[in-house]
Structures are given as C-alpha cells and as structure tokens.
Symmetry: C3
Subunit: 340 residues, 3 copies
C-alpha cells in the first residue's frame, strides 16, 4: 500500500509543508525511519530527530516552529500523536481486511453456519453445529470443536484451539496457540493413592471485546462456565483454571495463573507472573504487583497489593527494604544481646 | 441426548418422586440449573435451592425430608453425589465415544498401524512406523512423529505435538497444544562465548493413565527417557525438562517448572508456579506449596515445604509473619541501640 | 541405521578391541545400555559399569587398563567423550537430513520461494511473498504468514506459528508450538474505564543460530522489531514482549518473562521463572538467578543478582539465611526490650 503525502494529509485534515507528491508505504518511529516511511513528532524531547530523520514524511504539530532545515515533507495537524494513532488503526484494519474468502483444504462439519465476509484459512477445522458471525477471521490450523458460537468481527489467529461448546463474543481477538475449554484440573483421590478424573462438562465463555494472548490456556468449568467478561485483555501464557470468573475491563499480564473458582473483579490490573489461589474473590479495581501470590480475598475496591504472599504494597516495599539489611540487623541484635 | 427422569432413575437404581416422564438433556448445579437440566443436592447447606431451582429434576438423598413444596421431579438415591458423579462419567464417555472414524484429509506415514475403534481428525498427522492401540482418539491437527507408540483408549486433543520416538501408555489424556519430546535445553559453551547445541537423542515416555494439561511441554532426554510414571496428573503450561523422572500418582499444578534430571517421587503434590532445580530428588508424598523454589533434595517422605527457596512450611509461615513486621522490628532495634 | 563396530572405529579413528563385526544401532548411557547399543566411558567413576554393561560396544580411552574381563567390544580413542559427542552430532544430522521433500496437502501462497533441499510437511502453511532459504525444514502444521523471510538450514518443528513479516536467520531451530509475532500487549485506557488496542504493526527478527524452545511466545514490536540476536538460546514457555531486544549468545531458561522494551545484553545467563520489567537494560554477561524479579537497570557487566526484587546474589543469600531465623530474632528482640 503506497500513498502520497497529500493523500495522507487529506485523510488527517492536515496541511502539507514541502513535497506533497512524495510516496510513503510504511509507518516508523522518527529515530528509526528510512526512505518511504512516515513518522510523527509529538514529544518535544525527540525534536532533534526531525532534522536528521530518514523518513520521507513526518506528522508534526501545526504550532511547531522549525529550528533547522528539514528534508522530509511535513504534515501539520493539531495533535500529531492522535493523527498517527488514526493511521495505525487504518493500517491494522487494512491488513486484517485483506484476509477474506476460503483457502482449501479446510474442514467444516454438519449444521455449521458462518456469516458473510469471513475468512477461513487452509487446514482450519470447524466442527458440527457451530454458529459463526459476520466478518469472522479463522486463520489456518485453527480448531473449533462442536457447538461453538463466535460473534461478529472476531479474529482467531493461527492454530488456536477452541474445545466443544465454547462461546466467544463479538470483536474478540484470540491469538495463536490459545487453548479454550481444556479440562479443568479436577481429580478425586482414591483410597489406593491414585486419582480419578472428575469429568469436566462445562464450557468457556468470552464476552465481547476480549483479547487473549498467544498460548494462553483457559479451562472449561466442571459444570457451568468459566467466564471472561466484556472488554478484558489477557496477555500471553496466562493460565485461567476451571470456573474462574474475570470481570469487565480487567487486564492480566503474561504468565499469571488464576486457580479454580476464583472471582476477579472489574477494572483490575494484574501484573505478570502473579498467582491467585482458588475460591477467593478480588474486588473491583484491585492492582496486583508482578510475581505476587494472592492467597486471600480482597474486599476493598482499589486495593494495591504486592508480594508472595501478597499484602499492602507500601508495607511490602518497606519490609523488602529492611529484608536487604537483615544481616546487619542480626549483627546489631547480637551485639546488644552480648552487652545485656 | 435427552432422557426421561424415569430412565435416569432406572440407571441409578433410584425412586422417582413427581413426574417421571419429564425430559432432561443436561447436567447443572442446583443454583444455576434451568428447564431441561438435572441437578443434585448433597450438601445440606444448599437445601434452600431445592425449593427455588429451575431444574427439571434433582437427585436427592432417600432420607431427605422436604420442608416446602418442590416443582422439580426428584430422584431419590442412597448417595446423591456419587450418583451424580456416575452420570458425569456416562456423559463424558458418551461425548468421547461420539468421536470415531476418519475425517479427511489426514496423513499417515509408512508402516504405521492403528487399532479398531479409533478416531483420526482432519489435518492430523501420523509419521512412519507408529503403533497406535484400540479406541485411540487423535483430534484434528495433532502431530505424531515417526516411531511413536500409543496405548489403548488414549485421547490426544487438537493440535498436540508428539516428536519422534515418544511412547504413550494406555488410558492417557493429552490436551491441546501439549508438546512432548522437544529438544532438552542443552548447550555447551564454546571458548568464543557462543553455544553449541548438545544433540538430544532420547525420548519422552508417559506410562498408563497419565494426564497432561494444555500447552504443557515435556522435553526429550539427552539420552534415555524423560519419564512420567503411571497415574500422574500434570496441569496446563507446566515445563518438564530433559531426563526428569516423575513418579506414580503425583499431581503437578499449572505453570510449575522442573529442571533437567530432577527426580520427583510417588504421590507428591506440587502446587502451581513452583520451580524445582535440576539434578535433585524429591521424596515420595512430598507437598510443595505454590510459587516455591526447591533448591535441595528432599529425603524424607511426607515433607511439606514452602517458599523461595523452600523450607519447612510451618517455619516459613512464621518467618513470613515476622517479615511483614520488619519495619517495626528495625525501629525497636534502633531505639534499643540508642539506649545502650 | 546399523553399523559394525569397525565402521564406527574407522569414523572415529579408533582401535577395536574384541569383535569388530558386532552391529550397533543406537547410542545409550553405559549404565542403561542394552544389546545393540553403543556407549562410552569417560568419567572414571563409571568404570564399574564397563564390566557389567549390556552395551554391544563401548568407546573407551586408549589409556584405560582393564581390571576385569569385558563382554562388549571396545573402541579405543584419545578422548571418549569427544568421540561420542561426534557420533551424537552425526546421528542428529542424519535424523534431520532424513526429512526432505514435500508431503501433500500443504499450502503455499503467491510469490513465495523456497531454496533447494527443503522439507515441507503435510498441513504446513506458507503465506504470500515469503522467501525461504536452502535446506529449510518446515514440519507439519507449521504456519508462516505473509512476507516472512527464513534463512538457510533453519528447522521449524510441528505447529510453530510465525505471524506475517517475521524474519528468521540461518541455522535457527524453532520448536513445536512457538508463536512469533503475536500482538504486543498494548492497550490505551479510555475515559469510560475500557481499553482500546494500540495497533501493533512491527515484527519479530531472529538473527542467525538462534534456538527457541517449545511453546515460547515472542510478540511483535509496536513499531520496528522485537529482536533476538545471533546465537541466543531460549528455552520453553518463555515470554518475550514487544520491542524487547536480546543480545548475542545469551541463554534464557524456561518460563522466564521479559516485559516490553527491555534490553538484555550479550552473553547473559537468565535462569528459569525470572521476570524482567519493561524499559530497563541488563548489562552484558549478567547472571540472573531463578525466580528473580529484576526491577532496575543493571549497568555493570558481569553482575550476578538474585531475589524478587533482585539484588546482589551474595547479599541475597545472607538475607535469606537470616529470614529463616526471623521468629528467633523477634523473640530475642522482645526479651531485650523487656529488660530495657
């Protein structure tokens, strides 16, 4: 995709300064850009790059006063960052939209329906009795078991696996290697020391506008549903166990694990490598610091905790500061003991 | 699958109270059940739901005395929980059994054999010289390399990858995205600071009745075998390195990592996000708490450890309690020091 | 593959002692070897196994003096360990080399090229405008998006997923289930508490001689590239976030996570289950202990750190030693307080 600087300026309702017929075909950071790239300057700290950049064009503020000559064409707008974000959105949608139609061979079972405008990549598999909405993109090697429902405009990247009975809302993004609906880890100990699997007959439900990162696993409920509510974003390699419920607009960073039947509130921020034990509740707007282990219910909205096991993050910070000096404390204590 | 309440009662050798011709087609928790669902009441704490449930039928104890009128049909049995578990088992087996036959296209190499009653999903791949038992279920997009052996009644869910020479026993369940037999992480440092890969020519052996959770990875041995013994259950996103041996009937929760050549005993319980260093042994019936880091051999059977690094869990609990008060301790110590 | 002991000896420029026509078809450890296997004896501690081994042949030092009779044929060489390593290399290369040609069905898009000597497994997918070098091995069910470049002699095992625009160098090994180029975890908070995805339009670049372990995920850059430099080795289930740069000849063990825009130096050793926060730099030759949480830039080359949060590993070791005795310290402190 190649555009003239004038075409971009028209799209952004900006003014061109310099050659308006130069072509640009990619987006780049101002400090890394080369010929053919369009960059932007928003933060004044980066202004020096404007005079040395290899970019063919740069989006700048309409208030910027140049201090040196510039070789790139300029597109002057009210808010360069916002304008550049708009272009990123267009670019991203254009790439996705370019995937449409059906690549053969791909498999679709009995009584399954897909809406208009969809993409089905080669070697993708859709089981029986599935209902997929419009503009759904099923990349190559995706597996969709029987009785799965997927809403409009959802994208499922290569090789993701959705077990039977999974429900996915509209406008979701599921990345490569994700597994939704694998058996919950439920085994009943037997008198002889062995374990017997407890059948897991529930499912996984993702509401609308949910993102799931690469190779993340979400187990089905023993009965009922493991639920990820509207707008929640989950990073790569996260584990969500059976019967967990994660609220709306919550963010969970990479490699975090949430144990069975835990209930996470709305608008929480859970950092990376956190562990949350089973059967507890985490209040809305809770923040959990990285590598924390949450062992108790958090009742108060807006709580910030840290540590393994986790407690108030300020107290934790103070305790950690003393922890580093423990050998000194021990020495002082021993000296005092000698003297007493 | 739809059944009358009478059919279910006959199966469970129970007595129907109420309409014996009502149809049920799903299993649900008593507090969540709606029309068409069969629930159960075992724990007396949930009895109030019996009088408000939307379930079409409920399995109850033959000793239960009703305190209010009930709209659902009742099936009276000696042990409602056990009866319900039996139904879950039937349901689960019926779902699995429904997958049989071969979906095209799928790939099978030279000199490979599969027993009767098997399922091979579309886009599944079986290499050369493989021996697969009876009633084996190979879901779509599974990869089975050359010279792999798989026992009777084993199920391998969508997209699992078994490298060449892997051996899997009978009655195993391998979930989506599992990787068995990838190279052990062995690299020999060279004089110039680079690393040279040590060829990994061993394999992975799973004995009978082993479960492996979604996206778990088990590396092949450098030479010989990485072994998971009979009845052991491993959760999602677990890492088992080369030449590890895990004993019988051990349970390993999600996101735990076991380093090379470690030897884990029988009937151990290892919680989530645990790390175990290489070349150590863990005695039978050891319990390791969540997020622990085990750096030393555990010699005594029945040991319970916690922490990073891990030590006796009771001592760890006491130390953690004091850890939180460290800023106070430091202040007291400074006051004492002033005065002395 | 079966060879006589004499053939092996000729290859290694060694001398046969005993039957030079015995056949060997596998490599094994001396303590585990059975008929048909070739073992080696390097460490004198294992010499007793030489007299009891079931191996058909053993590679030994040309200086070894036998203390008892030996049933296996011996191959005497200057350095048994080195000779055995050479055989391992031959074996490994022979296995890889045995995969060549194209298995159908597999998918290749428009304008894509692959060099001579390649392998493309069944159900593998190559998008449009890809350039793959010579002797590239693409195992079954691998996904390669549009505009991907892959250098000579690179092997991509079953089911790995490379998003569009990924660049992979020569002599790389990418294991099963790896995901390269999934979206970075970038979401802009909106005034209503929801999040809006920041389009991620960059890519992933692996330089030459890089190894990536099973089910590891590496996100694409927001703009520009997430880069893994020459010779670096990454284990299983590792998470590398958007815009991270990992230097040359660095080793990263399993389940470690590196957050966005962090920069890791050359020849670092990062143990398992480590977390590294975003936007920091780690100096060359830094060693990070297992389960550490690195929250600050490491400036000095050769630093060794440990702990969560991580600091000097010797100080950490001392602090941990005192941590275990905290209940005792608290008691002593209280006694002193009483007395003062």
């Amino acid at each position: 995709m190649e555009f003239t600087v004038q075409q971009i300026a028209d799209l952004l309702q900006g003014e061109v300064e310099g050659d308006n017929l130069v072509n640009v075909s990619s987006l780049a950071k101002i400090e890394e850009a080369t010929t053919g790239a369009l960059a932007f300057l928003s933060n004044p700290k980066y202004e020096s790059y404007l005079y040395t950049t290899g970019a063919s064009a740069v989006i700048v503020s309409d208030k910027l006063e140049l201090k040196k000559p510039v070789t790139a064409s300029l597109i002057r707008v009210a808010d360069p960052y916002s304008s550049f974000s708009t272009l990123l959105q267009y670019y991203h949608q254009a790439v996705l939209a370019s995937k449409t139609g059906v690549e053969e061979p791909c498999f679709i079972g009995a009584n399954s329906e897909i809406g208009a405008g969809h993409y089905r990549g080669a070697f993708s598999y859709i089981g029986n009795n599935c209902k997929l909405g419009q503009n759904v993109r099923i990349y190559p090697q995706v597996y969709i078991g029987d009785n799965v429902t997927i809403g409009d405009n959802t994208t499922i990247f290569a090789g993701a696996k959705l077990y039977a009975n999974t429900v996915v809302g509209k406008d979701c993004t599921i990345h490569a290697g994700v597994v939704l609906g694998s058996d919950g880890f439920g085994f009943a100990p037997q008198p002889d020391g062995s374990y017997k699997a407890v059948p897991q007959i529930g499912n996984v439900v993702l509401e609308d506008d949910v993102n799931i990162g690469a190779n993340t696993t979400i187990d089905c409920a023993t009965m009922g549903s493991t639920i990820i509510r509207k707008g929640t974003k989950i990073d790569n390699l996260v584990q969500i166990a059976h019967n967990v419920e994660v609220g709306q607009h919550t963010v969970i960073a990479s490699q975090t694990g949430i144990s069975g039947s835990a209930k996470i509130g709305n608008q929480c921020v859970i950092a990376g490598q956190v562990g949350i034990v089973g059967h507890i509740s985490i209040a809305d707007k809770t923040t959990v610091g990285a590598q924390s282990g949450v062992s108790k219910t958090v009742k108060e909205s807006g709580t910030i905790i840290q540590g393994s096991p986790a407690f108030d993050y300020k107290q934790n910070l103070r305790a950690i500061t003393v922890f580093r000096k423990l050998p000194d404390l021990q020495r002082v204590l021993e000296e005092l003991k000698e003297r007493n």
